[in-house]
C-alpha cells in the first residue's frame, strides 16, 4: 500500500527483485509493486538486510493481508454481535490499515531495527547536557515487579500504600538533595517541570498582588527555558554571558526591575561552568522581588557538593532521566519533578502523596495549588527507577558521582587542550565545551563533520552547536560511568580526527560516516519533500 509512493532507490546490492515473483511461484508480495522500493515486499521480514546494509523495510511494507501474530484470552463472555455493540451511525468505515505480520516477522523487524540503533549499552555517549550515563539493569527489574507495574493509577490510597510510600520517600530524598522543602513528582520531563515552575512563580506573585511580566534567561540557557517562559505567559529577557562564560552581572543588574517575575538559571551552566556569583545573583533577583528558578539538568555535577536551595534558588526541577540514571528511551520517557522552598509549597500541583499522622499514606491537594499538571501522578515507573538508584547510591554514592563526573570532564578538558580551542579554559564541572572554529578556518571542517567522523570510531558524538554562545561548539559530557580508558580513547579519537584533517585534508571527515547503518541523511529533502507517514505523498 505504501510502496507505490516511495521516492528512494536502493543501494544496488539488492538481489530480491524477484524471479520467484515472475515465475508464478505462488508467492505474492503484499499490496504494492516490489520494485519501487528495491524489493521490500510484504512479509519478507526474515531476510535480514543487516549484513548487507540494505535498509530495513517498514512494518507496513512487511504486511501481508490475512497474516497475524495475535491471540487473545478465552473468556467465555457472550458473543454479542458487533452490530449490537456499536450503533451503525458510530461504526468505523475507514479501513484501519494496520500492518498484518507474523510474530516471527515482527520480532525480526524490531530486532533488526535495534541493530541500527546506537545506545549507551553499546558505547560511550558523551552528549553534552544529556548526562548519558549507564542505566543500572537493577532498575529494569524494579519496574518489572508486578506490585509496581500492574497497579491502576486510580486505585484508592488504601490499596496503593506501597506506591504512595515510594513517592513520599522519593520526594523527601529529592528535597534533601536539592535543599528544598517540598516537591511535586507530576512533571513528565524537564520542560514540563520548567512550565510548572513558571506557573508557581505566577501563582506566587498573584497571591502577593504583584503582576510581573518578565523572566530573565541567560543566553546560554537550554531552549526549553525560553520556550517554557512563553508558555507560562511571560516575556523572555535574555541576559548575556560575560567573557568568562558566566552571567554578566552588570547586564543582569541592568535587566532587573519590578516587572521581573524571576530568573531561570542552570548552575553549572551549559558551558559546564559554575556560576561563581550565584550568591550575588540570587540576592539581586530576590531584592527586586523575583524568584530564582534552577534548571536542574546539570545537577549531576554538584550532587552532595552544593544544593540549589543553599545557593538561594526558590524552585528547582530535576531531570531524573539525566542525573538519576533513568534510561532515556530514545527520546523519553523522563521525569522532571519540581522542588520548592517552603514559601512556595502551598502552590504545588496536587494531589500530592503525603504521610498521614497515623503513618499511613494518602493524597492531599495543597492549599493554593496551581492544579494538576499530569493525567495521573507523573511518570511513576520512571520515578521508581530513580528512587531505586538513589537507594543504591546513597548519600556517599551521590557525592562520588559528582566528583567523578567532574573529574572526568576536567581530565578531558586538559587532554583536549591544543586539539581544539577551549573557549573558557578553566576548571569546569561535569561537561566541557570545545570549539572546532580553528578547523573551520583552516580546513573548512565544521563541528558537525567532527561529530560524524567520531561516529565511525564507535562513539556517539558530543552535542554540537550548543550552547549558541560558542562558535562551532562541541559539548562533551563524559559522565561518571565512563572509565579513564574510555576517556583516553575518546580523546585519542578526537585528536586523530584533527590530525587526519591536518595531514590529509578534510575529506575523511566530510565524507564521514561511512561505516554506520546509513550515511549522512539529507535533512533538507526530508523537510522539503515531507513524508511523515507511509501514506503521505512527498510534496
Amino acid at each position: 500500500m505504501e510502496t507505490g509512493s516511495s521516492t528512494v532507490g536502493n543501494d544496488g546490492s539488492n538481489s530480491f527483485t524477484g524471479s520467484s515473483l515472475k515465475e508464478g511461484a505462488g508467492i505474492h508480495y503484499g499490496h504494492g509493486s516490489t520494485s519501487a522500493l528495491g524489493g521490500a515486499p510484504g512479509g519478507r521480514a526474515a531476510s535480514a538486510p543487516l549484513m548487507g546494509k540494505l535498509f530495513e523495510p517498514t512494518l507496513l511494507e512487511l504486511s501481508h493481508p490475512g497474516r497475524r501474530a495475535w491471540s487473545l484470552r478465552t473468556t467465555g463472555v457472550p458473543m454479542y454481535p458487533t452490530e449490537e455493540l456499536i450503533p451503525p451511525e458510530h461504526t468505523r468505515r475507514q479501513p484501519l490499515g494496520l500492518p498484518e505480520v507474523s510474530e516471527r516477522d515482527l520480532v525480526a523487524h524490531f530486532t533488526r531495527l535495534s541493530h541500527r540503533q546506537f545506545s549507551v549499552d553499546l558505547g560511550a555517549y558523551p552528549l553534552g547536557s544529556c548526562t548519558m550515563k549507564y542505566n543500572p539493569k537493577l532498575c529494569d527489574e524494579v519496574v518489572a515487579l508486578p506490585g509496581l507495574r500492574d497497579i491502576h493509577p486510580a486505585a484508592p490510597a488504601q490499596l496503593t500504600q506501597g506506591w504512595l510510600q515510594l513517592l513520599c520517600n522519593l520526594e523527601s530524598a529529592l528535597c534533601t538533595i536539592t535543599g528544598m522543602s517540598a516537591a511535586t513528582l507530576q512533571p513528565a520531563a524537564g520542560a514540563a517541570g520548567e512550565l510548572t515552575g513558571l506557573l508557581l512563580i505566577r501563582a506566587w506573585h498573584e497571591a502577593h498582588g504583584a503582576s510581573r511580566r518578565r523572566i530573565l534567561v541567560p543566553d546560554s540557557a537550554h531552549g526549553t527555558n525560553p520556550a517554557s517562559v512563553s508558555l507560562g505567559g511571560y516575556e523572555v529577557t535574555t541576559v548575556p554571558s560575560d567573557s568568562r562564560g558566566c552571567v554578566d552581572i552588570d547586564a543582569l543588574h541592568a535587566s532587573l526591575g519590578q516587572d521581573v517575575a524571576g530568573m531561570m538559571l542552570t548552575n553549572p551552566n551549559t558551558l559546564g561552568l559554575f556560576e561563581e556569583s550565584i550568591v550575588d545573583i540570587a540576592a539581586a533577583v530576590h531584592d527586586c522581588g523575583g524568584l530564582l528558578y534552577y534548571d536542574g539538568a546539570n545537577l549531576n555535577a554538584i550532587l552532595g557538593v552544593v544544593r540549589p536551595g543553599d545557593m538561594g534558588f526558590d524552585i528547582v526541577h530535576l531531570n531524573l532521566h539525566k542525573t538519576f540514571a533513568t534510561p532515556h528511551g530514545g527520546g523519553g520517557p523522563g521525569a522532571g519533578p519540581v522542588a520548592v522552598s517552603e514559601r512556595l509549597a502551598p502552590f504545588l500541583p496536587g494531589p500530592r502523596p503525603v504521610r498521614n499522622e497515623d503513618g499511613s499514606y494518602g493524597w492531599e491537594i495543597p492549599s493554593s495549588s496551581i492544579g494538576r499538571i499530569h493525567s495521573w501522578h507523573g511518570n511513576a515507573l520512571v520515578l521508581a527507577r530513580a528512587y531505586a538508584y538513589i537507594l543504591a547510591s546513597g548519600g556517599d554514592g551521590l557525592r562520588r558521582i559528582a566528583e567523578l563526573a567532574v573529574l572526568n570532564a576536567n581530565w578531558l578538558r586538559k587532554r583536549l587542550n591544543g586539539v581544539f580551542e577551549i573557549p573558557f579554559d578553566r576548571p569546569n564541572m561535569h561537561e566541557v565545551v570545545v570549539s572546532a572554529s580553528s578547523l573551520k578556518r583552516a580546513h573548512g571542517l565544521r563541528a558537525l563533520d567532527v561529530a560524524k567522523r567520531l561516529l565511525e570510531e564507535g562513539f556517539h558524538s558530543p552535542t554540537v552547536y550548543f550552547p549558541l554562545t560558542v562558535d562551532e561548539a562541541l559539548m562533551i559530557e563524559p559522565t561518571e560511568t565512563e572509565s579513564p580508558q574510555t576517556l583516553a580513547a575518546l580523546a585519542d579519537a578526537l585528536e586523530n580526527i584533527v590530525m587526519q584533517a591536518e595531514a590529509n585534508g578534510p575529506d575523511a571527515a566530510r565524507e564521514a560516516p561511512r561505516t554506520t547503518p546509513v550515511r549522512r541523511v539529507d535533512e533538507t529533502r526530508a523537510a522539503r519533500r515531507l513524508r511523515l507517514t507511509a501514506d503521505m505523498e512527498p510534496g
Binding site: L138, A192, A227, S230, G233, Y234, D396, N410
Partner: protein
C-alpha cells in the same frame, strides 16, 4: 553499595595529578565555600543491589496488585504479549537518546515513522507526531495549537472530556491565557448550549463548579473540544461539535481512544482537525499512571505548527532510504521562545512500544480487542444493572466503559469490593454525576473473563446488601 563508577583510587589519584590538584574537593573550588555542603547529604549510605531489590519488593508488596481490574478512566488493563515486552525492552531502544545523529539512530527513527503512520491511520488524519507526555498534555498542546492558529483564546470543551485532562488544561491556561468554557453532559452526551455572552468562565472556575448554564454562541472560538467515546464511555454524535467549530472558525479537537477507534468512527471521519488521545492501552503497562503516551494527530495543513518531534523519510548520500527528525524549526532548541511547544524529552519508548503492539495486533487484532472489551462491558453492565439499586447513569450508547449509580458512595463501594479481590472502578467526580457521590465508572478489557465478571457482579451485590 552498588557503585556504577569505574574509577579505582589509583586512577583517581593519577587523574588528579594530571590536573595538578590535590583532591577531588579541589574540583569544586569554583563553588563559593559559603554555600558548599559540609558533611555530605543527610541520607543513608548506598546499599547493594539485592538490598535495593528487597526494599523495592517490600514497597511493591504493599500494593494490592492482584485485584481484578474494572477500572479504566483513561488507563486500561489490556494484555501485553511477551513479544512486545521483549522487543520494547531491547536496550538499544531503552538506553538511547533522542535521535540527534540519524546515522546511528535508524532503529528508533524508523519505529517512530511506523508509529506516526499507524496512529495517523487510527485517527483517520494525515499526520501524527512522535509522542507527547500523556493524554492530558496532548490535549493541552492541541488546544495551544488551535488557539494560536486561529488567534482566538476561546475554548469550548465538553464535560465529557477526561476531567483530569481538563484540570491540566486549566492549570496551563493560566500561562497561555485561554478562555475555557465547560459544556455540560446531559444524559451522557454534551449539551453544546450557548453560555451567556461574555460569560466565559476561566477554566479554573469551570472545573471547580458544576457546568454553568448555557449561553449564546460567540462569534469566534479557537477550539471546540469533545471526547469520543467520552469519559462516561458514551458515544455521542459529533456533527454538532463540528458545525459549532465551523460556525466559530474553531478547530475541532477530538479526544479519542485508540482501542475503540478500531471499531467506532475515527476522529477524521467526524471531521476533526486534531485528534488527541492516551496511548497507554497500546502495549504500555498500567504502571500507576506513567509513563504513558500522549497521542496527537492532525490534518496536513497544520503540520508546520505541530508540537513535538516529527520523523520524516529521506535518503542518505548514497540514495538509501533513511529517516530523520524533520521540521526541527518548530522546536524549542532552534526556535527557543517562539517554538510551537516547549517539549523536548517526550515518550519515545512508549511510542515505539505502541508501534510494536499495533504490529502484533494488526487491524484484525485491534478490532478484536475492542470488540472483546465491549462485549465484556456489555455483559458486565447487564449483570450489574440486574442488581437491585444499580442503575445506569445514562441511556447513551457505550462501548467498553460505562457508568452506574449504586446508591452507595463510590469510594466506599470500591473499598468493600476490594476485599473480594476486585478493583470495582473509578469514582465519578460530582460534576459528572449530578452532584451525587455514588457514580461509579466501570471499564472492561479483553482480559476479563465471564467468571471474573460474574464474580465481580456478585461481589457488588454483596457489598450493596
Amino acid at each position: 553499595m552498588a557503585d556504577f563508577t569505574p574509577h579505582t583510587e589509583e586512577e583517581i589519584a593519577s587523574m588528579l595529578s594530571f590536573l595538578g590538584i590535590e583532591s577531588t574537593e579541589s574540583l569544586f573550588s569554583s563553588i563559593p565555600a559559603a554555600v558548599r555542603l559540609a558533611g555530605g547529604l543527610e541520607m543513608p549510605n548506598g546499599i547493594s543491589e539485592p538490598d535495593v531489590l528487597y526494599e523495592m519488593t517490600a514497597l511493591a508488596d504493599a500494593n494490592r496488585e492482584k485485584l481484578v481490574c474494572f477500572a479504566g478512566a483513561g488507563a486500561y488493563d489490556h494484555e501485553i504479549p511477551a513479544a512486545v515486552r521483549s522487543l520494547a525492552s531491547r536496550s538499544e531502544f531503552v538506553t538511547s537518546y533522542t535521535p540527534y545523529q540519524p546515522e546511528v539512530a535508524q532503529g528508533v527513527l524508523e519505529a517512530l515513522f511506523e508509529y506516526q503512520t499507524m496512529v495517523a491511520r487510527l485517527a483517520g488524519l494525515d499526520v501524527a507526531n512522535a509522542s507527547l507526555y500523556d493524554g492530558a498534555s496532548a490535549l493541552v498542546e492541541a488546544v495551544n495549537l488551535a488557539v494560536s492558529s486561529r488567534g482566538d483564546p476561546g475554548v469550548w470543551i465538553s464535560a465529557g472530556v477526561n476531567p483530569r485532562w481538563r484540570k491540566v488544561l486549566s492549570t496551563f491556561a493560566k500561562g497561555s491565557g485561554h478562555k475555557i468554557s465547560l459544556m455540560p453532559l446531559v444524559d451522557g452526551t454534551t449539551r453544546w448550549a450557548d453560555p451567556e455572552p461574555g460569560q466565559h468562565s476561566s477554566s479554573h472556575e469551570a472545573s471547580q463548579t458544576n457546568p454553568g448554564s448555557p449561553g449564546a454562541l460567540p462569534e469566534s472560538l479557537g477550539a471546540v473540544v469533545v471526547a469520543y467515546p467520552n469519559y462516561l464511555g458514551c458515544l455521542e454524535n459529533l456533527s454538532q461539535a463540528r458545525s459549532l467549530a465551523d460556525r466559530t472558525g474553531a478547530m475541532l479537537v477530538v479526544a479519542f481512544d485508540p482501542i475503540c477507534s478500531s471499531i467506532v468512527k475515527s476522529p477524521g471521519e467526524w471531521g476533526a482537525d486534531i485528534a488527541v488521545g492516551e496511548g497507554q492501552p497500546l502495549g504500555n503497562p498500567l504502571g500507576f499512571g506513567g509513563p504513558y503516551l500522549g497521542i496527537l494527530a492532525a490534518r496536513k495543513e497544520h503540520v508546520r505548527r505541530l508540537p513535538g518531534r516529527l520523523v520524516g523519510e529521506s535518503i542518505d548520500v548514497e540514495g538509501r532510504r533513511a529517516y530523520v527528525t524533520t521540521l526541527r524549526a518548530r522546536e524549542q532548541d532552534i526556535r527557543r521562545e517562539k517554538a510551537s511547544s516547549n517539549v523536548c524529552t517526550n515518550q519515545t519508548l512508549m511510542a515505539v512500544t505502541a508501534a510494536i503492539q499495533l504490529g502484533w495486533l494488526g487491524a484484525s487484532g485491534l478490532a478484536e480487542v475492542a470488540v472483546a472489551s465491549s462485549r465484556a462491558a456489555r455483559y458486565c453492565r447487564e449483570l450489574l444493572c440486574g442488581i437491585d439499586g444499580v442503575v445506569p447513569l445514562s441511556s447513551a450508547p457505550t462501548v467498553r466503559e460505562f457508568a452506574v449509580y449504586t446508591g452507595v458512595p463510590a469510594s466506599e463501594l470500591i473499598g468493600r469490593v476490594a476485599e473480594d479481590g476486585f478493583l470495582a472502578g473509578v469514582a465519578l467526580p460530582e460534576e459528572l454525576s449530578e452532584g451525587r457521590q455514588d457514580g461509579l465508572l466501570i471499564a472492561t478489557t479483553e482480559r476479563r473473563t465471564a467468571a471474573q465478571i460474574e464474580g465481580f457482579a456478585a461481589a457488588v451485590e454483596r457489598a450493596l446488601r
